[in-house]
């Protein structure tokens, strides 16, 4: 059993077939706790610049944070990290479900996978009994079939006690945005981690753990969880909030319709109605990940062409991806797109970008039937979209080109194509329009796209607009308040240290979503650092918890006394290390940018019609941000002073200590 005296890594060398268990240096645990930060540190130490993402020398790290598999709310997140085949830099991804808990119960906080197997294998972790087994019978099968076969063969009597992370055809064929599908409905989607697995000839990892984890101060740990849960609104509030967010997108006009051509696509009101319709949602028992008290939506189609389709882990983005970017006009078909991606092992977000990109090129005559293999790409034509997803997943025809992601595909297609690819360093951003200058999500979101450490802002400040949603949304219960009272109430409820509130909102507090000053830069920095805390602990970023509560939970669990300041410093350290990782590979400020079209081409319709980004404004926001971060304003590299302050002197030295 894991009693917190030591944490262990399972070291797997696919080339030699050797597996071993190693204690993790306690100094690393102290500095990074676990999860994303620890995985990034392992890769910083082990991956010399020059390694190719799909070469055998790349290292794939699975990381289960220390709180995974406990009573801590949302403690089911698995981190996956490696050099990314789509960005060429540090790739980190994160999956929900129950895999991470099993890994911890089996006694491991990390699985470090090196080399390349001579032929397809899967890794079976059954407590201390760890084996590499042939996966020849699984190669070529989709991820769901693979998960079926492994659960049935490894635990026929209790299939749900074995958790499986598997790749589909997309990972086998090195689609640059291939994902790792976990237990059907969950996935480590972003940054192409599935392709890294495929390049290693590793089809799946299956795990069952029976040993468990023991908190150092158990009663204090349980009391903290209990207190957190008592402070939550009645069950069901979260799935309602998800709908709230979509309404706000409509009001703001930032839906990225038809691949960023329309702020409010014509299909959107209908799509919204369907999302809210009870007959597409399981309202009483949405599906939970491990120890989740709130649950994302669960789609369940009860009638029509897609009857019987169930998709868990249903957050907004699939709707924005497929109904927005690709203009699919009904939610069941959106669900089917997502299911195809889960089965083929594709990142739904990046796949929607590739499909939307191709459809826009076809609409504009940049590509023709000759390029598409006869597919008549059309907005919202679901059968054509399904077929293109399949071709991408299996690298057939145009799908083979799009499988590189729209940035590299654009180079291959040539002509006008590069003008329309939407990406930040190769990775598709979250599909909300960054051009919005007038709304609650615009400026902050655009800025956060350019500061994210992996090429998007999900593991970053994408929650920032929620802090700035005035004046678009005012919850009904605040209707009786005056504007001043509302602002005070609103600010008092934001999760951030009081001193930061003063910097961001001033005194008396003022909220201006259109302003961007030093306060906003501080807010971005805080949110980015803060997101790294649940990512270190193994918790879900959708669980809203104060830094103090994280510190309390971790202290009770580990037996060490970790303060709120320690926790936030840990987040900042993690963020800086990840940025330093990419700086060591040569990334500089100018490489973090949105495509030219967002600076040149206005949003086509809706309340934000005509909005464009201004290069001067964006440069100004970034200047402020870099200054607040303590990074070099010209290069964007964390300064030696900042790194040393965070206890990263060796990292500073490796970067030249500027």
């Amino acid at each position: 059993m894991n009693d917190n005296k030591a944490e262990f890594a399972l070291m797997v060398d696919l080339t030699s077939g050797r597996v071993s268990r190693e204690a993790i240096d306690p100094g690393l645990i102290e500095k990074y706790i676990g999860g994303t930060g620890l995985a990034a540190r392992v890769l910083w130490d082990a991956l010399a610049p020059g390694v190719k993402p799909l070469g055998p020398e790349n290292i794939l790290v699975l990381a289960a944070g220390p709180l995974c598999g406990t009573l801590a709310p949302g403690s089911g997140r698995l981190d996956v990290a490696a050099l990314s085949p789509i960005t060429g830099t540090l790739g980190t991804s994160n999956a929900g479900g129950f895999f991470a808990g099993e890994l911890r119960w089996a006694g491991y906080s990390l699985v470090v996978i090196r080399g390349r197997a001579a032929e397809p294998v899967y890794l079976w972790i059954d407590d201390d009994n760890v084996q590499l087994r042939s996966a020849r019978h699984l190669w070529g099968r989709d991820a769901w079939e693979t998960i079926d076969v492994l659960k049935q063969s490894l635990a026929p009597a209790a299939a749900d006690r074995v958790r499986v992370a598997a790749i589909g055809p997309a990972g086998e064929k090195a689609v640059a945005f291939a994902s790792i599908t976990v237990d059907y409905h969950h996935s480590a989607s972003r940054t192409g981690m599935g392709a890294v697995m495929g390049a290693k000839n590793l089809k799946a990892v299956a795990v069952r753990g029976t040993k468990g984890v023991r908190p150092a101060r158990g009663e204090a740990f349980v009391a903290a969880v209990s207190e957190y849960l008592r402070g939550q609104p009645p069950f069901g509030w979260y799935t309602r909030i998800l709908g709230f967010r979509r309404d706000a997108a409509l009001a703001a006009g930032d839906i990225a319709g038809k691949h960023y051509q329309e702020g409010v696509p014509a299909n959107w009101p209908n799509v919204l109605n369907q999302v809210e319709a009870a007959h597409y949602r399981r309202t009483d028992s949405p599906s939970a990940c491990h120890a989740c008290p709130q649950c994302c939506n669960t789609l369940e189609v009860k009638e029509g062409k897609f009857q019987g389709l169930v998709m868990g882990d249903w957050v907004n983005w699939a709707t924005n991806d497929w109904a927005g970017v690709c203009a699919v006009d009904n939610i069941p078909a959106v669900g089917y797109c997502l299911q195809l991606c889960e089965k083929l092992g594709l990142d739904s977000g990046n796949c929607a970008e590739a499909v939307g990109f191709a459809t826009e090129l076809y609409q504009r005559g940049v590509i023709s039937d000759k390029d598409t293999g006869g597919l008549k790409l059309a907005w919202g034509d679901e059968e054509v979209i399904f077929e293109l997803i399949r071709r991408i997943g299996r690298r057939e025809g145009l799908g083979d080109i799009l499988a590189e992601g729209s940035a590299r595909a654009a180079q291959r297609l040539g002509g006008e194509a590069p003008r329309y690819a939407v990406h930040v360093r190769g990775l598709a951003p979250l599909p909300t329009d960054p051009r919005l200058g007038t709304g609650w999500s615009g400026r902050m979101l655009a800025a956060s796209h350019l500061t994210g450490v992996r090429g998007d802002n999900i593991k970053g400040a994408h929650l920032l607009p929620h802090y700035e949603k005035l004046p678009f949304i005012r919850p009904p219960e605040t209707q009786g308040m005056s504007d001043d009272e509302y602002v005070r109430d609103y600010v008092s409820k934001r999760i951030m240290p009081e001193s930061l509130k003063l910097t961001v909102y001033g005194s008396p507090p003022r909220v201006d979503p259109l302003a961007y000053g030093e306060g906003k830069a501080c807010l971005m920095k805080f949110l980015e650092d803060f997101v790294m805390v649940p990512n270190a602990l193994g918790m879900c970023l959708h669980i809203r918890m104060s830094p103090g509560m994280y510190a309390r939970l971790y202290s009770a669990f580990s037996g060490a006394d970790t303060s709120e300041d320690d926790i936030l410093r840990l987040g900042e350290r993690s963020w800086n290390l990840q940025r330093a990782f990419d700086a060591r590979l040569g990334l500089r400020r100018g490489m973090y940018d949105l495509p030219d079209r967002f600076y040149e081409e206005g949003i086509g319709n809706g309340p934000a019609r005509g909005a464009v980004l201004s290069r001067e404004a964006v440069a100004g926001w970034l200047d402020l941000y870099y200054r607040v971060r303590g990074w070099d304003i010209e290069t964007g590299i964390p300064t030696g002073e900042k790194l040393r302050e965070l206890g990263l002197s060796d990292v500073a030295a490796a970067l030249g200590g500027a």
Binding site: M1, G69, T70, L71, F98, W105, W144, K151, A158, A159, D160, R161, D183, Y184, H185, G209, T210, K211, G212, V213, R214, P215, G218, V222, S226, L229, Q232, F235, R282, D284, S285, P286, S287, A288, C289, H290, A291, C292, P293, Q294, C295, T298, V310, G312
Partner: protein
């Protein structure tokens, strides 16, 4: 009315809070195998049911036990660990999947936490309920 736990399948989200707090209360450890409630999930369709002792009257487990180690008393079915051989006949006879055989070969099962079941107090969706013995009133 007899005291019992109820898990309403249509409201269970499969989050495992019940298993985690159950295992912690029993052994101070978080793990599925330490719990005496077991959520069984059909993962593709995401449907759950819970296996736990219903303290049946008459109890099939008591009838099935070859060593007389199980007894129903005061509305509570309990195991005498000293005489239990861990043969598993009780678990096989249990209609609800509420008896578990541990690694050290003893049958273990729910004792309703002495009348304040922890799984009920930690269930976030309200699927788990407890019916008190005398009054029949519910606690969620």
């Amino acid at each position: 009315m007899r005291q019992q736990l109820i898990c309403e399948p249509g409201r269970c989200t499969g989050c495992l809070f019940c298993e985690m707090i159950c295992s912690f209360r029993r052994e101070g450890v978080f793990r599925r195998d330490g719990a005496v409630i077991r959520i069984v999930t059909e993962e593709k369709t995401i449907l759950h049911r819970a296996g736990y002792c219903a303290h049946c009257d008459p109890p099939a487990c008591v009838a099935a036990c070859p060593s007389g180690s199980l007894a129903l008393s005061g509305g509570l079915v309990s195991v005498d660990a000293a005489t239990c051989s861990g043969c598993g006949d009780c678990a096989a006879a249990c209609p609800t999947g509420g008896i578990f055989i541990t690694g050290s070969n003893v049958a273990v099962k729910c004792d309703l936490c002495g009348g304040d079941p922890a799984c009920v107090s930690f269930c976030p969706s309200g699927a788990m309920r407890y019916i008190k013995p005398a009054t029949g009133s519910e606690e969620a």
